[in-house]
Symmetry: C2
Subunit: 215 residues, 2 copies
């Protein structure tokens, strides 16, 4: 079993399970999803991240005790990854770093898309000069904005602009783009490779999980 | 189809196909393997690498023309990767960098094993402070040394030493360890996760290839 941590408080079970469901469907591995308590708005600034860190660590420690073979922190910013790694002996996989490592291994110049001001530092540190541009779709500041027809249209426009700037692949720096299945839209409509946050963390976890049975 | 470049001159078809066969079996994707001309001893110092670079680039350019969707340079040192990336528009995946990126995404302290003096620079740059140690099995200086019972025994000893030094996973910095299936030995006998060079390059290529049909 792989533990998956959502870094906001999910009151709806479908929302809680949405990332885990994508990974289970793509790789056929069992996922246990949990969300941190008392943060319905999740992480949106330094203070909300500071408060979230011990909650993420507590959930991760508990998941290791419950028998998880690896833990995913399912967020493009990899919050608390260093702190949790120092507390458990199993692999801790971050969404942002996984996507960035997959992109680096392919070596194509990438346009990064997200809903925050800039590329999350953990992704910027890994991607470095591979980044040909970063864009937040116009008017999109939270993941629910992506659910409207207008939001999707603006996101498609942003991806086109990034390709015009020289990107040969699009990297998501937001798991909300994974939840709405936006990678498939870009692959079909723009014929461009996409490195998706949830797909990448799932791919790293599944690859590890294949050998976890033997060790 | 994925192109796979062997960085020595393979006169035996079974040897030529050995890495591609591992990837085809693990991922069910078609691999076209080719080896560089006139270098039966492959790359073993700066001069032999310098001579190999244009040959690797030529093979890669030819593979893109023949319809390959991505190219693997199947060697832990990623020779000519920068040069080839500047000449083709498809992803170029290196064995060493793929293994290092997989290890980084998991975040466990790693012991690196290879048959050269030290960790290949491309892997050292990515792994950085994650490396808890590097070892070349005693008396092993080329991949054929690994084929003997004594060579395997020394390699197993080296892995045990790396774990004793604090490694929580073993990373291979030599495709010869992949060819002899040494990852399975370590997983079974030492119960340790292994990040294998050929497995990692195949895993990156297969993940990309899944979407190549749609783009």
């Amino acid at each position: 079993m792989i533990g998956l941590i959502r870094v906001f408080t999910a009151n709806d079970n479908e929302v809680l399970q949405s990332h885990g469901k994508i990974i289970e469907e793509q790789h056929g591995i069992p996922i246990l999803s949990k969300s941190i308590p008392d943060q319905p708005l999740g992480i949106y600034d330094d203070e909300s991240e500071r408060i979230a860190v011990p909650k993420i660590v507590d959930l991760g420690v508990q998941m290791e005790r419950e028998g998880c073979r690896a833990i995913i922190i399912s967020c493009a910013a990899d919050p608390a990854i260093r702190e949790l790694r120092s507390r458990v002996s199993i692999p801790v996989i971050g969404g942002g770093s996984s996507a960035a490592h997959v992109a680096r291994a392919l070596g194509l110049p990438v346009g990064v898309m997200g809903i925050t001001e800039g590329v999350p530092p953990v992704m910027r540190d890994i991607l470095g000069d591979l980044i040909s541009g970063y864009l937040r779709p116009e008017g999109v500041t939270n993941t629910t904005d992506l659910l409207t027809e207008e939001g999707r249209g603006k996101a498609l426009e942003a991806a086109k602009t990034l390709i015009g700037q020289g990107a040969k692949a699009i990297v998501f720096a937001c798991t909300g783009l994974s939840t709405i299945g936006f990678a498939e839209t870009l692959r079909k409509e723009l014929k461009v490779p996409v490195i998706d946050t949830v797909e990448s963390e799932g791919f790293m976890a599944a690859n590890y999980y294949k050998q976890a049975g033997a060790i």
